[in-house]
């Protein structure tokens, strides 16, 4: 029985040690509040007010140093000494420094700066004289476009109006009347840049007219009047040759008058 009893006791002791050890670890890794808990546990007899005053500094009585102030002071001294400076310690001290006794986040001048930044709109008084100035940069006004005074209201978001391209439009009657493989000028409207016949959903003509157009275009192709495909060379335009010309390979120039003048001079000389 003694043997068994001692064995039991040992097992108990080991068990208790195992149970105790995590507690010990937690005690070491506590935040400052765990210390407060301990204090509360130890002095359970004192009143709540007393406790609060002891732990947190009271604004009315700064002379009485609270637990945290003491802790701060101790920490500062510790940091200054430079020994045993760990990451958690530094972090905590910084956090505590920020919450110093007379610290007020509104009094640091940042508020004024933020307000200024929020209310200030950067603008250039000479903006109007600049070359790329646009009164409404969010709306592209083209020459010859109409606009109301409503469109110029900068408080409203700009509404982009779709540019009206003068696209080819036709009717079934017109197609049935005009479609002929000799009428290349008319049929050229029914092929894309690559020389492909445009589908009916795009042309919007009747099936009969579309069949006729397709048939005539194919006849014209076989006869040589229209291209099967431009093979990426250049678009077929009625009345222009499909032969490769030098000017097809020239760079497109937008400064029209200048380049033309230059070329004219070169030709003359």
């Amino acid at each position: 029985m003694k043997l068994i009893g001692s064995a039991l006791w040992r097992s108990n002791a080991t068990l208790s040690r195992q149970f105790q050890s995590p507690h010990g670890i937690r005690a070491f890794s506590t935040s400052p509040f765990s210390g407060a808990d301990n204090g509360q546990n130890m002095n359970s007899s004192e009143s709540i007010d007393d406790f609060e005053q002891r732990i947190f500094s009271d604004g009315n009585r700064p002379s009485m140093s609270s637990f945290y102030q003491k802790l701060d002071r101790a920490e500062k001294a510790h940091d200054r000494s430079g020994t045993g400076f760990s990451f958690t310690m530094g972090n905590r001290s910084g956090f505590m420094d920020g919450l110093d006794e007379n610290y007020n986040s509104l009094a640091d001048g940042m508020d004024y700066k933020l307000k200024k930044a929020a209310s200030y709109f950067e603008f250039d008084p000479d903006e109007v004289a600049k070359e790329d100035y646009a009164f409404r940069p969010d709306v592209n006004f083209l020459s010859g476009m109409n606009y109301d005074t409503k469109d110029l209201d900068l408080r409203k978001p700009g509404v982009r109006k779709p540019i009206k391209r003068n696209e080819f439009e036709t009717t079934t009657e017109e197609v049935l009347l005009k479609a002929d493989f000799r009428n290349v000028k008319f049929l050229a409207n029914f092929i894309t840049e690559a020389g492909i016949i445009i589908k009916r959903s795009k042309t919007g003509i009747s099936a009969k007219a579309q069949r006729k157009v397709a048939r005539e275009i194919k006849t014209a192709r076989a006869f040589g009047l229209m291209p099967f495909t431009t093979m990426g060379t250049k678009q077929f335009i009625y009345g222009t040759t499909m032969e490769d010309e030098d000017r097809d390979f020239e760079y497109q120039t937008y400064d029209h008058s200048f380049v033309n003048d230059d070329r004219g001079d070169a030709m003359e000389s």
Binding site: R182, R221, A222, G239, M242
Partner: protein, 147 residues
Amino acid sequence: MPLYDCMLLLKPNVTKEALMDLASRLGQHVYRRNGVLTDLKSFGTVQLGYGIKKLDGRYYQGQLMQMTMMTPPSFNSELYYLNKEDRLLRWLLVKHREMKFGMEFFGEDDAKSELRSFRSNLYDDENIEEDEDDDDDDDEQSGTKEG
């Protein structure tokens, strides 16, 4: 005998004499078959949709000609000799369609309006009456078209 259009696409460098020689040869064929030539039209030089390769190079232009004739339906096979013709780029026999031709056909309203704008540029606003007359003419034409 149905009415046919024989379209001939000739090389651009073919002379008028050679062209007329070809046309008369064709006409003789038609008459031999008891056919009738009703119309002969030249569309002048046209730009082609692609370069037609012949033995002597690639052609990007051609002279387009149209002969309207009344021939028996078997006439198409008799034109196969044209395949060996080296003055021709393409030829085609199609059934004649009741189409407007020449200026009316090719230009339609576009060319007419272009012409009118040109004329109005020439005379500017001096002859307003004439312009009005033109408008009247157009209206009448469109009226006949519809009718």
